[in-house]
């Protein structure tokens, strides 16, 4: 089978795929229930998937709910993203130990290769965006590359959209279009649940050969298309992106920014949950006796003062300036910088903002002409 080919597997056969991946030395990661949410963690058995659960999401709200059926993937993206694994929150880069007059450098050993189960369309796009950031330019990130090239991706097509999803507006979903090895559409038939499988790569084709599958029927292909059509119609949020890149450039003094700054906590949650935000700071630690040192890279955020600290002070001192930078980067000058947008419409920043600030609502308001602030203007 080659890329684009389809097959059908009985739902339970996914266990066979997990076992085949484990046998090849992959660490298998997927959605599972923890802390009253659906997070990404080690999953070695299909019984660990959130069968029969879904999530209800709104700005600043996330709650688990029981489904009426027993769908295994009947939910949308949660608090975690695959960024946790490809671009970990804390990453020791290297250490040094004094020996005699010199010192010896040690580099952490690479972890096992990763297999992601249940990657959504928006997340595939987010991974592609981070690939561009970390690997696409003049300088490429070796540790990211090592993890990324060995990763096996099983995508899942969304059979529903949450209250904060807007992939259709951003052109990133709900169908997994590229960047996967295998993709699944869950079909909850009356008698038996199956997955329609699409092959996305040679590695995917090889894996599919190791489990029992059969060719799909016309009806199954049509059912899978219907699932995606229905999801596309039910987006929780919408964002008109027409000329948004150009418009935002002109809105630096829009009064809306002041309103956001009054609500924004500058806590950094939006940047932590965003699957494309990539910023880090590098910390050095030294031991008390001065014989060992370590350099660690940690997720940081454009919402912290230190992050924009240049000699003498922070260049984005106000929360207004920091939120404006974040939104404008995502939706406008990310395109200038990397040739793609920086937002995939996953809605995480909306759901996980403790005060429920909504990027779609703010960007929409910013489209309207704002009265530019003049000198001495009190507003």
């Amino acid at each position: 089978m080659s890329a684009g080919a389809n097959a059908v597997i009985v739902r339970e056969t996914l266990q066979g795929l997990l076992e085949a991946l484990l046998a090849e030395g992959y660490r298998t990661l997927g959605p599972t229930l923890r802390e009253d949410a659906i997070v990404y963690d080690d999953v070695t058995h299909v019984s660990e998937l959130p069968a029969g659960w879904t999530d209800s999401q709104e700005a600043g709200h996330y709650h688990l709910q029981r489904r009426e059926d027993d769908a295994w993937f009947g939910f949308n993206v949660g608090p975690h993203s695959w960024k946790r694994f490809l671009h970990p929150p804390l990453e020791p880069l290297w250490g040094a130990r004094r020996n005699g007059d010199g010192f010896k450098i040690t580099v952490p050993a690479p972890g096992p290769k990763l297999a992601f189960i249940g990657v959504r369309a928006c997340e595939l796009r987010a991974i592609a965006i981070q690939d561009r950031v970390f690997l696409g330019g003049r300088y490429s990130d070796d540790t990211y590359r090592a993890r990324r090239i060995s990763t096996f991706i099983v995508a899942v097509n969304c059979a529903q959209a949450s209250g904060t999803c807007f992939c259709v507006s951003m052109g990133s979903g709900p169908k997994a279009a590229a960047g996967f090895d295998l993709s699944l559409t869950e079909l909850l038939g009356a008698d038996r649940a199956t997955f329609l499988v699409e092959v996305g790569s040679e590695a995917g084709a090889r894996m599919l050969q190791r489990i029992a599958s059969r060719p799909p029927t016309e009806a199954e292909l049509a059912a899978a298309r219907a699932v995606l059509d229905r999801t596309a119609e039910r987006m929780g949020r919408r964002l008109d992106t027409t000329r948004l890149r150009e418009l935002l450039r002109e809105q630096a003094e829009h009064p809306r920014w002041d309103g956001i700054a009054e609500r924004c906590l500058a806590c950094g949650n939006c940047t932590m949950v965003c699957p494309t935000c990539f910023c880090t700071s590098v910390e050095d630690h030294s031991s008390l006796e001065g014989t060992a040192a370590e350099r660690v890279r940690a997720w940081d955020s454009c919402f912290t003062l230190d992050f924009s600290y240049l000699h003498g002070g922070s260049v984005r001192h106000s929360t207004r300036a920091r939120y404006r930078h974040w939104l404008t980067h995502k939706l406008s000058y990310w395109i200038d910088q990397f040739g793609t947008g920086g937002c995939v419409g996953c809605g995480r920043c909306i759901t996980w903002c403790p005060v429920g600030i909504d990027i779609t609502e703010e960007a929409t308001a910013l489209r309207a002409p704002g009265r530019a602030k003049k000198q001495g203007d009190a507003s």
Binding site: R34, E35, D36, A37, V39, G60, H61, Y62, H63, G78, P79, H80, R84, P89, L90, E262, R263, C264, L265, A266, C267, G268, N269, M272, V273, E283, D284, H285, S286, S287, L288, E289, G290, A298, W299, D300, S301, F303, T304, L305, D306, T319, T351, W352, P354, V355
Partner: protein, 250 residues
């Protein structure tokens, strides 16, 4: 002659918990004792060697005229002075007196108030003398304490961030309790604890005091929407860091 840098630990109005964090560094304590000459450490020994000291760690707040004098002497004797804990950096829980009448409080607590000599306020060390670095927390985090000592020994800046607890919470992979309905002080609170409470499904209590740019009114509104009225929010802020500027409601 002993050439190791000299460390002194000082106690003012406090519970000793922060000094205990240093004793609690069991594995690293030998390294500390190797790298530094411990000239004064009341929690470990009553012997105090005379100054000057290279690094003074100061625990506790200033609540008496005598202590206000004593901290000046400590400063005079110390090359670097680092304050540790909520008492030393913000006045501690005893700064609740700053919001009440000291005469009434003393009369309510002590049977013979005439023997009590105290100031009307509890104030952080930085209100009295210049401080080189403030390490927050109630109590402080021992890993951060070792980081600060290590940084002063190496002559580098300590890697201690002033952003919100939320950043540590997210790095840890904890699911946000506030988005799930539990009021949390994390967005206002200075990082340092590693987001301990949310990891156990509790809202943050604000032990590390205000983060760099706290937006108190915005969080107050959110608490209200979650069913925690203004009074409860105010009580939540009135704890170990009650008198910290960033925790005041404008």
């Amino acid at each position: 002659m002993d050439r190791r840098p000299r460390l002194a630990v000082w106690k003012f109005a406090s519970c000793d918990g922060c000094q205990l964090s240093l004793l609690d560094c069991e594995d690293e304590l030998l390294a500390v004792a190797d790298a530094l000459e411990i000239a004064s450490f009341p929690e470990a020994s009553s012997a105090v060697a005379a100054g000057p000291y290279d690094l003074s760690l100061v625990e506790g707040s200033i609540t008496t005229a005598h202590d206000a004098e004593r901290i000046r002497e400590v400063r005079r004797q110390s090359r670097h002075l680092v304050t540790i804990g909520a008492c030393a950096t913000a006045g501690g829980v005893q700064a609740l007196r700053n919001f009440a009448s000291i005469g009434e409080l003393v009369a309510a607590v002590y049977p013979s108030p005439q023997y009590i000599e105290t100031l009307a306020t509890s104030t952080p060390i930085a209100a009295h003398v210049a401080v080189d670095f403030e390490l927050r927390g109630c109590p402080i985090n021992k890993t951060q304490l070792l980081e600060v000592i290590g940084a002063f020994l190496a002559g580098r800046k300590p890697a201690v961030a002033a952003y919100s607890v939320c950043i540590e919470c997210k790095r840890r992979g904890t699911v946000c309790v506030m988005v799930q309905g539990v009021p949390c002080l994390g967005p206002l609170t200075h990082a340092g604890c590693g987001a301990l409470c949310p990891a156990y499904r509790r809202g943050c209590y604000g032990c590390y005091g205000p983060m760099e740019t706290p937006n108190v009114p915005a969080l107050a509104q959110r608490w209200q929407a979650l069913g925690a009225p203004a009074k409860r929010f105010e009580h939540a802020l009135r704890s170990f860091n009650a008198a910290a500027q960033g925790f005041q409601r404008e």
